[in-house]
C-alpha cells in the first residue's frame, strides 16, 4: 500500500499537474495552427510573459495590502490573462498581420514567430534579469497530506495547493472552452475556419474576428499555463522556453488543429514523462521475498535526466507514424 501511494504521488499527481500545464499551452498552439496555419514558436515566451505579469500584479496586490486565503498569484490570474491576451493581439497586429497581408507562405510566419520569441526573451531578461523568483516569498505554499485510514500505511498522499489549483483550473478552462467552441457563434466560426478558411469566409463568417478570438484565447491560456507552472515550480526567465517543445509534442500527438486532441495529448505527454522515469521496481517491493536474486532494483524506463527527452521521442515517433495525430477521425 505504501508503494502504491508512492506511485500515486510520483506519477499520477505530478503527471496530472504537468499534463495540465502542457494541455493549456497545447490548446493555444493548436488553435493558432488551425486558424492561421503556422507553428507558433513564441508560445513558450508568451507563457513566461504571462507569468511575469502575474508576478508584477502580485507585487502590486501585496503592496496594497490585499490578503487572500488562496495564493495571490492565483487571484491575480484573470487580470494577467486579460493583459497577456491584449499583448498577444498587439504582437499579431505588429508582426504577423503585416506578413499575412502580404500573402507570404506560412513558413515565413513560423520564422517570424521565432523572431518574436527572441525579442520577447530579450525583453523579459532585460527587465527582469536572469534570477529566479518565487511566488511564495511572502506567503506559504500549503501542502496537504491525506492519511489513509488503513493499518500499516505510513506514507500520505501529498498534494500542494498550486497542484490542486492547476488541475481544477484546467478542468474548468477545458469545460468553458468546450462550451465556447460548440455553443457560441464565434466558437463555431472558429471551427469552421479551421476546417476550410475560404468556405468560412464566403459563408459570411467574420474571419478577422475569428483571428482576434484565437489570439485572445491563446494568450489568456498561455498566461494561465505560465502562471500555474511558476506557482508549482519557480519563476525564471527561460521558464517556458524549455517547455515549448513538449507543448508542441502534445499538440502534434493530439493532431495539430484539434483542440480536444491537444488536451488529451498534453496529459498523455505529462503522464508519459513521469511514468518513464518512475522506478517500477518500487511497486514490486512487497513481493521482494518471491523475486530471484538477480532481479534488478531499478526498473525505470529511462534515467531521470532524460525526462524531457521522452516528450521529444514521442513527438518524433508520432510525427513519423501518425503525423495527423493519434485521434484522427475521433475529434471534431
Amino acid at each position: 500500500m505504501n508503494e502504491l501511494i508512492f506511485f500515486l504521488n510520483k506519477v499520477i499527481i505530478s503527471g496530472a499537474t504537468l499534463g495540465s500545464v502542457y494541455a493549456l499551452g497545447a490548446v493555444g498552439v493548436t488553435l493558432i495552427f488551425g486558424i492561421l496555419r503556422f507553428a507558433h514558436f513564441a508560445h513558450g515566451d508568451m507563457m513566461t510573459l504571462g507569468a511575469f505579469i502575474s508576478f508584477m500584479l502580485v507585487g502590486l496586490f501585496q503592496a496594497m495590502g490585499i490578503q487572500t486565503p488562496l495564493p495571490t498569484g492565483f487571484i491575480v490570474l484573470p487580470f494577467a490573462m486579460a493583459i497577456t491576451a491584449g499583448l498577444a493581439l498587439g504582437i499579431d497586429k505588429g508582426f504577423y498581420e503585416p506578413l499575412r497581408a502580404k500573402g507570404v507562405k506560412t513558413v515565413t510566419l513560423l520564422i517570424a514567430s521565432i523572431g518574436v520569441t527572441l525579442m520577447m526573451q530579450g525583453l523579459i531578461r532585460l527587465f527582469a534579469g536572469t534570477a529566479t523568483r518565487s511566488f511564495f516569498e511572502n506567503e506559504t505554499k500549503d501542502l496537504f497530506r491525506f492519511k489513509l485510514p488503513i493499518e500499516g500505511v505510513k506514507r500520505s498522499i501529498n498534494i500542494s495547493e498550486p497542484q490542486i489549483l492547476v488541475i481544477v483550473t484546467t478542468v474548468v478552462a477545458v469545460i468553458v472552452l468546450h462550451y465556447f467552441l460548440t455553443r457560441t457563434r464565434l466558437g463555431k466560426g472558429m471551427r469552421a475556419m479551421a476546417d476550410n478558411p475560404s468556405l468560412a469566409q464566403v459563408s459570411g463568417i467574420n474571419t478577422a474576428a475569428v483571428v482576434r478570438a484565437t489570439w485572445i484565447i491563446a494568450g489568456s491560456l498561455a498566461a494561465m499555463a505560465g502562471t500555474m507552472l511558476a506557482l508549482d515550480v519557480i519563476l525564471k526567465p527561460d521558464l517556458a522556453f524549455n517547455i515549448v517543445l513538449p507543448i508542441f509534442a502534445a499538440a502534434v500527438v493530439g493532431g495539430l488543429g484539434h483542440s480536444y486532441g491537444a488536451i488529451a495529448g498534453g496529459f498523455l505527454i505529462g503522464f508519459a514523462e513521469t511514468m518513464a522515469v518512475f522506478n517500477w521496481a518500487v511497486l514490486l517491493r512487497p513481493f521482494k521475498a518471491g523475486l530471484p536474486e538477480w532481479f534488478p532494483t531499478d526498473l525505470s524506463l529511462v534515467p531521470t535526466e532524460y525526462k524531457l527527452t521522452v516528450a521529444f521521442i514521442i513527438l518524433v515517433v508520432v510525427l513519423l507514424f501518425r503525423p495527423q495525430g493519434i485521434f484522427k477521425g475521433a475529434s471534431s
Partner: protein, 428 residues
Amino acid sequence: MIRRDAILFAGLGVLILALGMWLKVPTTIQLLVTALAYALIALGLNVQWGYAGLFNFGVMGFLMVGGAATTFISYPLNDAFWTSAGPFMLLKALIAAIFGGLLIWGVTRIPKKGNLSKLRGFLLVLAWGVAYVTYRSQIDPAAKLIETEAGFVGGLGLHAAFGWIVGGLAAGGVAYVIGKVCLGLRTDYLAIATIGVSEIIRALIKNMDWLTRGTLTVSPVPWPTPLPADVVASGMTDTYMATIVSRSIFLALTVLFIAVIFFFLQRAYEGPWGRMMRAIRDNHVAAGAIGKNVTKRELEIFVLGAILMGIGGAILTTYVQILDPSGYQPINHTFIVWVMIIVGGAGNNYGALFGGVFIYIVWTISEPASLVLFSLISDMSESAGIGAIPEIESRALQMRVFVLGMVITFALRFAPQGMIPERVRSEG
C-alpha cells in the same frame, strides 16, 4: 556577383577594419574565425533551405555532433580507459546494439500482408523493447565502469584538421539517419521534428558522460595549428605578437577550408545538379513527375548540408578548446544561423557568406553597443533624478537576443529576399 554585392562585401570589409581599430587585433581575428565558422554553418543551412527548401531547425544537433566528434579524434589518448575493461565492455554493448538492430530489421521484413501481418505492429514494439533492454543491460555497466575508473573514453590523439573532417562526416552520418526517417515530413512538421531531434542529440551528448564527459566538459581540445604558447616556444618572445601569429594561422586554415568548400558548392549550384535541386524545391511533385528521385535527392542534400554544419561546429569547438555540452543553446546555434541566411539571402551562397559574417558581428557588438546606450540613458535618468539603471552589464548582454529577433522580423517584413537575394540565371 554583381556590383551591389561587391559594394556590400566591401562595406563588410570596412566594418571589420573599423572593428580592428576599435577592438584589439587578436580579438578581431578571434571574431573573424568564429564568424567564418558560422558562415560555413550558414552555407550548410543554405544548401538545405536555400537550395532544396528543407526546413531544418536542428542545426544545433549537427554542431554538437561535429564538436564531439572532433574532440574524440584530436584529444590525447586516455590510457586509464584503454587499460581498463572498458573497451571490451563497450564492444559487448556494440554487439548488443547490433543484435537489437538486426532484431528490429528482421521484424520489419515481415510482409505487410499474410498470416503474420496482424501481429506485425505488436512484434515491432516487442522487438524495440527487447533491443532496448539488451542494449541498456550492456551499456549501463560499461558506462558506470568507465566513469568511475577512467573518467571518460578520452580521444584518439590524431590531428585536429582530420578531426574537422571526421566531425563533418559524423554529422553527415547522423543526418543520414535523421533524414531517412524525417524527410517524409514537410514544412512546419519537419521543423518541429528536427528541433525535437536536435534536443534529443543534446540530451544524449550532455548525459553520456562516458563518451563526452557531459557537463564536466573536455578541455583543452588541441588546435590543428600552433597555439600561442607553441609560437612563443619556437622563439618569438613577444606574447602579443605570438597570439596574433598563432590566431592568424588558425584563421588561414579556416579560410582555406571555406574557400575550397565554397568553390565546389558554387560549381554544383550553377550546374545541372543545382537546377535540379531548385526544381525539386519549387515543385517537388512536378520534379518527381519528370523522373527525379525526390526523396533520394533531398536526403543527399540534407546530408551535404549537415556535413558543412558538422565541420563548422568542429571549428567552433576546436577554436575555443572546450567541449561544453551545456553551452549549446537553440538561440546561439540554431536560430542565429536562420537569421544569417534570411538576412543574407537564402538560395545564394554569397548571401549566406555575407549573412554569416555580418550577423555574427552584429550579435557580438550589440552587447558593447547597448552597454554604451544604457550608460547614456542611465546618466540621463540619474541627472533627471530618477536614479541609475541597476546591473547595466548583465542587462546589456540580454540585448543581443533582442537585437537578433528585431533584425529577423524587420528583414522578413522589408527585405524578405535578403541582402543578396537568389538570382536564377535564365537561359536565352
